[in-house]
């Protein structure tokens, strides 16, 4: 198992009468694309701000790149690039000068670094434009460029596709995948656009009202969400016997209403229909059911409310 880049244990953040994070445990391992999922106000940004050092937890501890001591944690933040909520910049300075400012600040050698990150995020032609003149999507790209300065080992992005147009979303997705696969950058990103996360995340953390409901790998989630097939048959008992004989290892449930549910389909749905037909069993209906990430999230969120 890869080493933990972020290890948050028992993190709590209390604002007067509001508990933004309630004993949160989150682990992000090297090489992962970790999708932090939650509604607005779930505590995603609060968690990212704590990792970025902008705010302090009321309780618990944070280990970053294996460091737990406060000074060492702060120092190790130089190995990280972050875009939390909005990209901060000096509005009257150009995109290029803003990035140059941060390059100098972080002691990153080589003036060409700025040009290189601007090219990576497709903002090179706007380099002389004042930051205040950028559109929302371009500000997001600027924020990503800032986060990428100095080739960080960990990239932390809060709602990175906010304000991007459809082609911008595709570019962002491809860029994040490329950074993760080619440069082995660990990525922690939060979003409430689950369909986007579903396409790139390798690990998920579900956060609701300041509580982590579940941490699950994409592989495990796929297995949990794998489709099931409902077959409404004239003779379900006979079909169950056929299944056990012809396709041993198939998990199924006999439901009411003469329905058999295959919960781990290893074959195409048509194969199960054909099997019934071959054995003279009438098929009155065949439904394929899949659980999307969205359905899964709604399910566990509702479970969390109970």
């Amino acid at each position: 198992m890869n080493e933990a880049v972020i290890e948050a244990r028992d993190i709590t953040k209390q604002y007067k009468n509001l508990t933004a994070l309630d004993h949160v445990d989150i682990t992000v391992r090297r090489g992962e694309i970790y999708g932090l999922i939650g509604d607005n106000g779930a505590g995603k940004s609060t968690f990212l701000k704590i990792v970025a050092g902008q705010i302090f937890p009321t309780g618990g501890y944070l280990r970053l790149f294996g460091n737990e001591d406060e000074k060492a944690v702060q120092k190790s933040r130089s190995r990280m690039g972050a875009l939390v909520e909005n990209a901060g910049f000096f509005p009257k300075m150009s995109v290029e000068k803003n990035l140059e400012y941060y390059r100098i600040q972080r002691g990153i050698p080589g003036k060409e670094t700025v040009e290189s990150v601007l090219r990576t995020v497709n903002l090179l032609e706007k380099r002389r434009v004042k930051c205040e003149k950028l559109s929302m999507g371009m500000k997001q790209r600027f924020g990503l460029a800032l986060a990428l300065l100095g080739e960080p080992e960990l990239l932390m992005l809060d709602e990175p596709i906010n304000g991007l147009d459809p082609s911008g979303i595709i570019e962002m997705r491809e860029l994040l995948l490329k950074l993760n696969q080619e440069k082995r950058i660990t990525i922690l990103l939060s979003s409430h656009i689950l369909s986007e996360l579903e396409q790139i995340a390798t690990m998920y953390g579900f956060l609701s009202r300041g509580v982590v409901l579940e941490e699950i790998s994409a592989q495990a989630l796929r297995e949990k969400c794998a489709g099931c097939i409902d077959l409404r048959l004239t003779e379900p008992e006979k079909y169950a016997a056929v299944l056990e004989k012809e396709l041993p290892g198939t998990a199924y449930q006999v439901l009411q209403d003469q329905t058999i549910r295959i919960t781990n389909p290893g074959q195409e749905s048509a194969r199960y229909g054909r099997l019934a037909y071959e054995h003279g069993i009438g098929v009155q209906g065949l439904d394929e059911r899949h659980m999307s990430l969205e359905d899964y999230y709604v399910n566990i969120k509702n479970r969390g409310k109970l």
Binding site: G53, Q54, I55, R106
Partner: protein
């Protein structure tokens, strides 16, 4: 910290803010000399178009250096809080204490360079436009000496004002609150102590060490159109200004570090 200071220098040099502030303040002081010159040239019986009078105007209002230092910090750092720039520095791994100290040093130097340029513009236009009787011993040099020594003596507390303004930004983050905080600490508290001092002797002794009080009372009280004397013209007075400034830097510095170390940045 060196990198942080370098980046701040880069920003200050590439933004227009400090140039505009310096130009505006220099213009105001030059304008004062121009007005004095025009009146003396075109209004018979106007006796104030002299180098001495022009310099006295500034010498008797030395607290203008503190206000200038406050303005420099306010204009340079308010954008950082409004636009979320500071959070990037923190997320980039820069130590907060180093940030605070680095900022104070860079803004302090900026304020001094700006003040030097403003003074140069003021002094040169005064010598160019206004009358002085070079036949009277010291008439053309004494006011300049008092002014320059006054400026030097007020450097420590001007730097303390830079540190105080930065400290208050770290605590409050909003321009209005910082402005009010500075006014209270720099002006209202010293004034209150001075007034209380009329009844309570200990308050008078404390008030005497507060810069806003001594640059007002111990300078203007000692002035006359013939005689020219000021607190900082005497070694003990100069030392008093130095000590008050140093104490201010230490106290406000401690306040700033305390306020920033555990402050949540929105």
């Amino acid at each position: 910290m060196a990198n942080y200071m370098k980046s701040e220098c880069y920003r200050i040099l590439h933004e227009k803010t400090i140039y505009l502030l310096t130009l505006t303040m220099a213009s105001l002081l030059v304008l004062m000399n121009v007005v004095l010159y025009l009146f003396s040239a075109y209004a018979p019986g106007f006796y104030y178009g002299t180098l001495r009078f022009s310099f006295i105007m500034l010498i008797s209002d030395m607290e203008v250096f503190y206000i200038g230092a406050f303005l420099v910090v306010m204009l340079l750092s308010s954008d950082e809080y409004k636009n979320g720039v500071l959070k990037n520095a923190v997320a980039g791994g820069i130590n907060r204490v180093h940030m605070f100290i680095g900022k104070c040093i860079v803004y302090g130097i900026t304020a001094m360079v700006s003040a030097a340029l403003i003074l140069a513009a003021f002094i040169s236009t005064a010598y160019l436009l206004l009358e002085t009787d070079f036949s009277i011993p010291l008439e053309s040099t004494l006011p300049l000496k008092v002014l320059l020594l006054g400026a030097a003596a007020n450097v420590p507390f001007s730097l303390a004002t830079v540190v105080l303004t930065m400290a208050l930004y770290n605590i409050f983050q909003k321009d209005a609150q910082v402005g009010i905080g500075c006014a209270v600490i720099m002006y209202l508290i010293p004034t209150a102590f001075r007034l209380l001092g009329f009844q309570i002797p200990i308050c008078a002794r404390i008030a005497a060490w507060m810069p806003w009080n001594f640059v007002k009372t111990e300078v203007s009280a000692a002035f006359s159109i013939i005689q020219m004397d000021a607190l900082w013209m005497h070694p003990e007075g100069f030392l008093k200004e130095m000590i008050a400034g140093a104490v201010g830097i230490v106290l406000f510095g401690a306040l700033g570090i305390w306020g920033f170390r555990k402050k949540d940045i929105a």
